[in-house]
Amino acid sequence: MTDIPALAKRNSRLPVSTMAILALFALMVGLTMAGVINKYIQSVLMFIGINIIFSASLNIVNGYMGEFSCGHGGFMAVGAYVSSVLSVILFTENSFTGQPLLPPGSAIFLFPIVIIIGGLVSAVFGLLVAIPSFKTRDDYLAIITIAANFIIVTLINNIGAVGGSRGFMGMKKSLKAMEAVIDLPYMIIWIFIFVVLSIVMIRRLMKSTYGKGISSIRYDETSAEIMSVNTNHMKLVAFMFSSGLAGIAGGLFAHVMGFVNPASFSIFKSTEGLVMVYLGGMGSLSGSVLSAVIFTLMLEALRPLQILKWVLIPLMLILLMQFRPEGLLGNRELSDVFPKLKRIFIRKDSSNG
């Protein structure tokens, strides 16, 4: 497993995968700035990114750990609202504090921190599910996750200060403040960075012996305990990490839309996450990424159908469960299906050796 020459080379030259990611990043930012891709394509690209984080994070619980969380949208809501409120209070004129607490231009550095704080608060809300999971499993835990989703959405619905069911807005002004300093397509840039960070973090965690403790719960929790895995600790890590990333997806979503309302994070949102995870394959990280891309594009294609898409999406879920319950990739990765890809990612693989 340990590939010493590859490791040595790693220090002198960037791995192909890193270069590919940098190139894609440069391409996207470049094309956006040059005005080659229009606002619509930009927004589709951004939603793909947000959905990648959303589905990959849900996959930690539903795929790797084998529990069934169907309230992931709730955690996205927490991140969306926390970062939106922070961003509005800190960088713009608002109804809470009047004047912005910080010079609006500082958003240019503080924006990612605001998003991360949203994620951290979401991670804390993850305890709402993590703690019951110590004693409860399977269908019973699934019901608790639905309950958590409802609790969060209903709470937000009833907090007048953030607009209740009418929603909350003003985040566009923070972006304007950033653009006033240097004009860059900030949302594309930050979504790209957070997608890459999320994927790298999930990948590193699930490749480590530490993270494999999470997967051991899926196959046999009893023997995991007997073999010295602290399963409660693993559940805590899995649920908090998963909901934290959902919170980051939520914060980014809120800033792309410039407007959030509780209804966007209802059980429908959670269902979209489930469709993506099961479409891609449980426990397959590249599957989640792939299905997030396919699913987002499909949603765009189905947009003319409006509400009818909620007939088509569940129907697709039924067909998927009937004919390919393991999803597109099962629990394999793209590199297992197309071995050629391994050559590109081989250094990444050896880096955990």
Binding site: S215, T222, S223, I226
Partner: protein, 257 residues
């Protein structure tokens, strides 16, 4: 000098109204192979589950190396170096044999979540150590060729070996085997006997086993405890157990119809 490794004192366990284990006393001395036998439903596996922390005893104490371990979580007990296998094999059947061995070293990971995210030096050092040890163990068990196989694809007898190897990755001083011969053919059983003997010598272990196959018990165990209805019937050598009328009665009934 006989050093007591595990001491069970007045152990009682009730499930609701049912007393599964009642006032059991037992000492396991370092370096011996001890058997625990009894008819079906006698409470043998319950005793194992009590020792490994799945149940908290209703009464009594369990001391391991002089330290009280009842009330601890199973993973904490495992980390104190007690290994165990199950009656029905419980490997992580969809993860490779290597992963099975690696995950079982969670008790000495030596790094935390942040180290895993950042792939720090500490992380790399410990992962390397864990992997090297896992390979070494597989080598000793002649399983290294199967390192990347999934247990579900392996024959039953090999799965047993993998399960024992996995229990040994805890570097236990006490190994508890719950019916290791269950489901094995008679040829496999004689192999298993040699195998257990070898494990004991090679890893300098104390072994405590539940077994129904008398061939295994009689040829391995220096001492045997017989339980029935959660109570101790007798403790003695293989010969004493074989000739005890009480034991025969427990297994076969007392002849008065």
């Amino acid at each position: 000098m006989a050093e007591i490794l595990l001491e069970i004192k007045d152990l009682t366990h009730r499930f609701g109204g049912l007393t599964a284990v009642s006032d059991l006393n037992f000492e396991i001395i370092k370096d011996e192979i001890v058997g625990l036998i009894g008819p079906n439903g006698a409470g043998k596996t319950t005793v194992f589950n009590l020792v490994s922390g799945f149940y908290v005893p209703s009464e009594g104490d369990i001391l391991y190396k002089g330290e009280r371990i009842n009330g601890l979580k199973p993973h904490e007990i495992a980390s104190r170096q007690i290994g165990r296998t199950f009656q029905n094999i419980r490997l992580w059947s969809d993860m490779t044999v290597l992963d099975n061995i690696k995950i079982s070293q969670h008790y000495r990971l030596g790094y935390n979540l942040m180290d895993a995210f950042l792939q720090t030096k500490k992380y790399k050092k410990h992962e390397k150590m864990i992997e090297a040890d896992a390979y070494e163990l597989l080598e000793e068990f002649q399983l290294s060729d199967l390192a990347h196989e999934m247990p579900k694809n392996l024959p039953y007898g090999v799965q047993r070996r993998v399960e024992i190897a996995r229990a040994l990755s805890l570097k236990p001083d006490l190994l508890m085997l719950d019916e290791p011969a269950a489901g094995l053919s008679s040829a496999d059983v004689s192999e298993l006997i040699q195998y257990i003997q070898w494990i004991k010598e090679h890893f300098k272990l104390t072994i405590w086993m539940i077994e129904h196959q008398m061939q295994v018990i009689m040829s391995l165990c220096s001492r045997i405890k017989v339980v029935d209805f959660g109570k101790e019937l007798l403790t003695g050598t293989a010969e004493e157990v074989r000739n005890s009328p009480e034991v025969i009665k427990a297994y076969l009934g007392d002849g008065e119809i």
